[in-house]
Amino acid sequence: MSAQFRQDFSVIANWIPFGAKVLDLGCADGSLLKFLEGSLEVKGYGIEKNDAHWLNTLKQGLNVIQMDLESGLSGFESQSFDVVVLSQTLQAIHNIEKIVYEMCRVGKEVIVTFPNFGYWRHRIQLIQGQMPVSKALPYEWYNTPNIHLCTIKDFDEFCIKNKIGIKERLILTYGKPIHFMPNLMGELAMYRLVSK
């Protein structure tokens, strides 16, 4: 796990109340949930589609539900979780409007994090004529699972259009908050959302 990923975790942890009921969408091997359980004693559930990831989450002693996020969260009651987290998974989802809507339905609060495609290093690679490859986006164009990359500006507009309130926004580069020209200087975007 990269140092930056841990920074991501600690910010998420700052946004989650102690003992909260948390749903982590696309929980991978359950690292975030494990971290949240250890630090905040949350009642956590992960959702993971991939067999190997699913099993690794179970091995950590966590609750994990195997399902495809693309089919929505119909098995979850409205407002049944304190926080629903989508950590660095947004860019790999087909129907983003639907999943964000579903997250806001199920969670009293929603945390979304994604790699900022507008980060200056990505822009330079594009100017040089190639698709960006970086720590946050480690794939080549032909094998990337990331089909819906966006910039911070794009996501802000998405929230306005879909009537989603931004409670808090934090932009990080190498784990440090960025305040000056975040859409250019920021590598990782983190949002706390609530439905309006």
Binding site: K43, Y45, D51, W54, L58, K59, I65, G75, S80
Partner: protein
Amino acid sequence: MSEKNSVGLVKAKLAQFTKPLKLTSGKKLPSYTLAYETYGKLNAKKNNAVIVCHALSGNHHVAGRYKKDDKYPGWWDNLIGPGRPLDTDRFFVIGINNLGGCHGTSGSMSINPKTKKLWGSDFPIVTVEDWVNSQAALIDHLGIESLAAVIGGSIGGMQAMQWTLSYPKRVRHAIVIAAAPNLTAQNVAFNEVARQAIITDPDFYNGDYYRFKKKPKRGLRVARMLGHITYLSDDAMDSKFGRKLKNKNIEYSFDVNFEMESYLHHQGDKFAEEFDANTYLRMTRALDYFDPAIEYQGNLSKAFKKVEADFLVVSFTSDWRFSPQRSKEIVKALLDNELTVSYAEVTAEHGHDAFLMSDPHYHGILTTYFKKIANQL
């Protein structure tokens, strides 16, 4: 799987109960016998016991062999043994033949203590709740207060669920595999066709065929053949048999011509020899009647309010008899009650029968979960 991980040679045991068992139907079983087997050792804290519940045609012979040269081991042998997913070095495993069964437990083929004659058609209709109550009597008999887990597939999974409802304080984990919160209309329909095949067999004699030294074998055979079709997926049947012919030629007759037919006949014949028709009728009826949400206007989440156990729910993608969708209903009810639950949807082509296979991912899941339970002992 190597024989060295087997539980080895095993013996069936019988437990007699003289305290009457009140049945869901309102009737009473004045006394009864349960056939059971155990593998592994009960630890000093008596907290490592696991009940393995059987499905429609199963029994208490879950693992190991009675004799060295037995052709087949117990029906879920690949799960149980030292170093296997349900590790008998850690757990004390109990297999029980359900009431109404035909392998030593009280049923139509046993003696009615009142009449001193075979129960026959008089043996009462029992339910999943009744089974669980009798299983609880058995663990009382074995001196076990609470179970580390109850595991089962299909109607065995329903029993595991029922345990958490009937005895919330006596079971810490339920492993519910290829099950459903109740049967769909289509499932009840399959069961009814199977029952009609048996009941309309001229050798059925209203369930008292023993007196005439007869067995409704034809009916039982058809019932089993129908069952087998529904336990397999279309794809599995296609890859196993396809349209292969038995003797390479189209024979223009109604004799066995396709491999598929040959398989069904074989399975049907074997089953009709070994199994009892009254048991088949009663097992399918117990399946039909299982519906814990019925007292709660169909609201399973309300039914699960009293549950305290942790759950592992597993379904198989190609299982159309107990589809993943039905397992998800169970998961939803558990989530609604903020219970501890994990759910796996295993990609498998074998249909409902997949729960008995030793697919590495599936067994990896069970191994992991049982390790978690073992670490809590």
